[in-house]
Amino acid sequence: MESEKTKEESKPFEDPEKKPDARQRSVEPQPAYRGEPAASAMVAERLSAYYGAFKALADINISIQQNKITALIGPSGCGKSTFVRCLNRMHEVTPGGRIEGKLLLYGEDVCGRDVDPVQVRRKVGMVFQKPNPFPTMSIYDNVIAGLKLGGRRKSSELSEVVERTLRQAALWDEVKDKLKESGMALSGGQQQRLCIARTLAVEPEVVLMDEPASALDPVSTQKIEDAMEELKERYTVVIVTHNMQQAARISDYTGFFYIENMGDPGRLWEFDETSKIFSSPNRKETEDYVTGRFG
């Protein structure tokens, strides 16, 4: 599947010390994708994350495939959320939060000293567990909130963005007649899709979702999942989920995070195609987890 964007040309972060062969050194998933050749959108190499002296994540090597959905699963406290927060440099916002290792977005270093974290977050958007629309804003204004921060735009252009992103988030038909109403008047599931539209409005490369459907009813969950299926046509999606069946249903790749012993940092225990993880995973711990025998 061809991406609509020409990734080769995108140079989000100009780094004078950038190595031109960065992409060639990216770590491929194991085993490499066997369908059509896919490129890596994000690559982590020996990534470790700390909260002060506590090492929460150790030596994560992963290659997030472009225009695919990657699900991250694992027991609570094993570092999944920490990992996705590293991907858009939100981890460092936590007091004492820091990372070691390398993180690349289309071959460009995301963590370099000269890289503006705000720019990273434009490229790597995030949807949180609890829907968090801006309470005083209308649906319309919620969607374009991020765009407005980036300077003035023509109103016709903004309307276009609102319709496109609300359609992508599978919300348009439900709200097209009440765009001026408050975002808070929507149901929880609609609010979450509004937040997805808001994330998409700034045209990110990668969309991170941290348990986006865990607070929603099954119908809303299904709508979010349908939206995600659409999203991967344009974006690369990483989703943290505790819902095994959700991971099995929607993702192309699955990463299982695991802590071997209490107090150890979380590790990426197994990473493979979703079909492999949910049919015959390589490691016993993965199988114990996905079959619910964990503990």
Partner: protein, 233 residues
């Protein structure tokens, strides 16, 4: 352990299948005896098993369906339920064939027989029953190392099949070639026996899949490719 009840249900499912398998095996034993002795009384003991096996097979399939609906099994649980469904099908079919053969024994009664063909048939019968038992043993013990031996044993049965069929269609000129009716029964029996052997081999192969997940990946890929093709349309 979490999902203790689910695990118990899975264990019970496996017990039911193995129990059914052992009963089919015992029926096959009766069948061998009936073929060896031409004893209509022994053959009749097997009459009616087909219906009861089918009913139990359907019950096992239903339990599998309910577990799938309620427990959303994945990985080894999914492989187990899938395998149990397939194995019960092999068992029931072997049971049906066993009854057919016993009916043939009963109906051919004291017809005139070809001793060469009968000898080949009996040897094939023992080979097929052995294969069936081996397949079931492999499934019960999940002993996939032994599954490799099945192929060789099956080749032997296939060889006996060709031999017996050749004897069945090429009767000798002398009087010992048996009655035409009996030859037809014999040919049918040879065919049924070959099927029983195949069911044994399949049970062993299913066990390999159960333990290793082999084939599953290619099946999943096929499924995904089909979906992609569908989107392209």
């Amino acid at each position: 352990m979490p999902r203790g009840t689910f695990q118990q249900e899975l264990d019970r499912l496996v017990e039911e299948v193995v129990e059914l398998g052992r009963e089919v095996e015992s029926c096959l034993g009766t069948m061998v005896e009936a073929l060896e002795t031409h004893d209509v009384g022994i053959a009749r003991r097997v009459f009616g098993v087909d219906d009861s096996y089918k009913e139990r097979g359907a019950q096992i399939a239903e339990e599998c369906l309910i577990l799938q609906a309620r427990q959303a099994p994945v990985a080894r649980d999914l492989r187990l339920i899938y395998t149990v469904q397939a194995v019960q099908n092999h068992l029931v079919r072997a049971g049906t064939l066993c009854e057919h053969i016993c009916q043939a024994v009963a109906e051919s009664g004291d017809a005139e027989r070809d001793p060469d063909l009968e000898a080949a048939l009996l040897e094939m019968c023992r080979g097929a029953c052995n294969l069936f038992r081996q397949g079931l043993d492999i499934f019960e013990a999940r002993d996939i190392d032994r599954a490799r031996d099945l192929e060789a044993a099956d080749d032997k049965v296939d060889l006996l099949y060709s031999e017996a069929m050749s004897l069945a269609v090429n009767p000798g000129k002398d009087s010992s070639s048996g009655s035409p009716e009996w030859r037809v029964w014999a040919a049918l029996t040879v065919h049924y026996l070959e099927r029983i052997a195949d069911h044994g081999v399949s049970i062993g192969e299913r066990t390999v899949f159960l333990v290793t997940g082999e084939r599953m990946e290619s099946a999943m890929r096929l499924y995904r490719d089909q979906q992609l093709d569908h989107y392209d349309d």
